[in-house]
Amino acid sequence: MTVTRKSKPFLTPIILVLVFLVFLSASLFAQETASGISVAPPANVVASDFNYDRGEQAEVRWKLSSDDNGSAGVIGYEIFRAGVGSEDFVSVGLALPGESYFLDKDVQKGVGYVYKVAALYSGGQSFSDVSNAVIPELEMINWNLLNLFIIGLLIAASVIYFISHAKKGRKLFIRKIAGLEAIDEAIGRATEMGRPILFIPGINDMDDVQTIAGITILGRVARMVADYDIKINMPVSRSIVMTTARETIKEAYAGAGRPDAYNDDMVRYVTDEQFGYVAAVDGIMVREKPATCFYLGAFFAESLILAETGNSIGAIQIAGTAQPAQLPFFVAACDYTLIGEELFAASAYLSNEPKQLGSLKGQDIGKSLAMIIIIIGVISATISRAWGGSFFIWLSEFVNKISTIQN
């Protein structure tokens, strides 16, 4: 008996097709894993002009992608910009996941722009619709700074009031400032010892108010130096400070009726390099042994080096700066230290001129305002947080508003 095998002509192609499909799906699956699953795009992209600038910034806001939920789906956003009517979008910046705001700082005033935002995922980008058009404009007045303007106006008005008050001959009281009282004593000591005075106006240029304050005090010191006919030595690290200091001392000598005694060499330029300057000043100190050292201006890491060297030669030292990090060194190593505001008050105190006294009084009005705001602000914040009360909540928010600068 012959057994014949039944042939199955369709089985082989079916198996082959199945195998092909298995490989194809595996291949597709592998590709999707590598490239990541596509994410939903951001929505509601809104572009707007940045308020109160020179028309050089535009803001972009968007609703986060629905897949931006802390999982690994969205890895960030990329912001694209194009001119109105153009399809030529260029990337202008990136934002982190969870962020829905971007400030474009590279736009031109009066030019229209549109934006779109792409949610980034491991395999690509998912683009939003195009935003509305925005045209950055110049705003002449920054209303966010209205509080600053009003407070400044109040202080300016009080300065003007006190200046006119002083000009009428009425006496304005200023309390004694120990460091300034000591200037006469320090110069007198140099006169008695027949040694020079060293004056250091800091290491910053004339664009620093501390240097300006130091040079103002120099005027008073130079006048006394001219009167007592002693030597003043002033090494400087900035060329414009040198010129200003020379003018100041020259005027002081002219005021004392001794213009011929003035010499340009009283003020010498050394170098702009911070520690090169310090090395030179230290050398001058130990060689010339000044009886009195003034350090009035902006100081940095050199403060302690200078003050310690001055201390080692037995000089009487008066320092003044508004650099908080350097004040401790001056306090530790100098005989008298003008702390911050005292340095700026010095010129008014020393000159006794109505204009300067009036401005100092005006500044005191500003400080009074600050103290009142602090008292009201702290009390209202404490009460409103602890016990509530609509009045205290309103008061706390109001005080916060007038004392906060919004840019």
Partner: protein, 215 residues
């Protein structure tokens, strides 16, 4: 060449450090080299950066920035002090620099040194936020906030020049200056530690790079 540079650096470092003993010729040499090289360096830097890089490049480009001429004119006016008969003109650019600086920085200083300081002081003392229970702030926060508020207030009292420091006002001013001094003390210690790291760096150079005693 590298070895030569290390020896020069070591020579100069030790020369400057020798000032701790007393003024001496070695220090004077190092001082003169330092001052001379740095002054020359700054001259070259300012010439190429400002006069060539900023001014000359600015006015010779396709779209010239003529505002730069204002600065150049002020600079030339400053140089006129070399001519005694018209030297008084050099006072004008000085006045411009001083006046413009004072005006320009007024608002910046006022907003950063005054307004920001005041607004940062307006802290609730007992509860951290609205609707939260009384005394829910930690003791650390309560004490910290009281110190910030009271320290700032009394510090302002100290710098108030229109009233003599007597009576209650004087006591407040005394608290203010104590607060300031304690702050200075903390700052002093912090800065000294950072300076120590600079010294350690120099010592590492001498004993490591130069003498090879530290590997």
């Amino acid at each position: 060449m590298e070895i030569f540079g290390t020896w020069v650096a070591a020579f100069l470092t030790l020369g400057i450090i020798s000032f701790l003993y007393r003024d001496n010729p070695w220090y004077k040499v190092c001082e003169s080299i330092f001052v001379g090289i740095s002054a020359g360096y700054w001259f070259v830097t300012l010439f190429f950066d400002n006069i060539l890089g900023l001014f000359w490049a600015g006015i010779t480009r396709e779209d010239p920035n003529y505002m730069l001429l204002v600065g150049a004119v002020l600079g030339v006016m400053m140089l006129l002090r070399l001519v005694p008969s018209i030297g008084w003109i050099s006072r004008w650019p000085l006045s411009f620099v001083v006046g413009a600086t004072a005006g320009f920085y007024l608002i910046n200083y006022f907003s950063s040194n005054v307004m920001l300081q005041v607004s940062s002081t307006l802290l609730p003392l007992l509860s951290p936020g609205f609707g939260q229970p009384l005394f829910s702030s930690s003791l650390y926060d309560v004490v910290g906030n009281i110190i910030v508020a009271a320290g700032t207030f009394t510090g302002l009292v100290y710098f108030f020049f229109s009233k003599e420091h007597k009576g209650a006002f004087g006591h407040a001013a005394k608290i203010g200056i104590w607060t300031i001094m304690i702050t200075f003390g903390a700052s002093f210690g912090y800065t000294v530690m950072s300076r120590m790291s600079l010294l350690i760096g120099r010592m590492e150079f001498i004993f490591g790079n130069w003498l090879g005693m530290i590997r």
